[in-house]
Subunit: 160 residues, 2 copies
């Protein structure tokens, strides 16, 4: 296995491990638990689930994998804080969106050649990328892996 | 910049970013805030600070960087849960240990050649490493980066 292949495998394994932990946690929680605040006055579990779903959905265009699947989630779960928008999707639907988005990402992640992780992401211009070659897909993946770990550490409070 | 150098830079940048965020958060909290529970009935901030410190301290031998600096923290902050051991270090001392451990790690991380991240970590035998080359230093670094992000997501609750 080449160095590049080995390094990318570590990074993608780390991503899939966090997704799998988050899946297990969310599956173990009832809708009622998810709809509660993670701590008094803090975000509800369902908000964090929607937030992670829309952040992962946005990775599809950012990594040049394709279009967002659920652009309507962005306004509710990213632009606005929890409880700012009353009319949010059913918890059962959010669970489906979460799985669908991560499955779409997984199929692209698994199909990418190791070197392609060093290609630029879509939010940087060709010109800037020449000067800042670290603004690549791998960087997005590592950043979003930390992001899901951060919120996983919060959603876990809903577990009795 | 070679592919290997670029990939390792992404991974170490990601580590230093999480450390820097955690530093800023901890520095912004008073001792009294750190000594409170992050949520009712959950770990105290000071326990999580000690826990992160001892986990990072253990990275020194794990990454073949040298000996642990504060082995006495392990029993309090890793083997036992919060409040199991009454006599814990002063919060002001824990802040110092946290900084000292991360500075020791940083000097080794910055001195390592990119390829050396693919060397085995100390908890895997030469024999197993031949079959499982992903059990390398990079893997430890990515794993511990997620670990600090996970607890950062919890400590942030102490912020008013």
């Amino acid at each position: 296995m080449s160095n590049t292949t080995l390094m990318i495998k570590s990074a993608t394994d780390s991503w899939f491990q966090q997704i799998s932990r988050t899946d297990k946690l969310i599956d173990s929680l009832t809708d009622e638990q998810l709809e509660s605040e993670i701590a008094p006055g803090k975000n509800r579990g369902v908000y964090l689930l929607g937030h992670l779903t829309t952040v992962h959905d946005r990775m599809l265009p950012l990594l040049n994998f394709g279009n967002q699947l659920y652009p309507q989630l962005e306004n509710i779960f990213l632009t606005h804080p929890d409880k700012a928008i009353i009319d949010i999707p059913l918890t059962s639907d959010l669970r489906k969106y979460w799985n669908t988005v991560n499955e779409a990402l997984a199929s692209h992640i698994n199909a990418l050649q190791p070197e392609e992780w060093l290609h630029k992401h879509s939010a940087v211009s060709e010109e800037d990328f020449k000067k800042e070659p670290h603004r690549n897909r791998l960087n997005v993946l590592l950043n979003r892996t930390n992001h899901v770990a951060y919120h996983l550490g919060q959603i876990v409070f809903l577990k009795k």
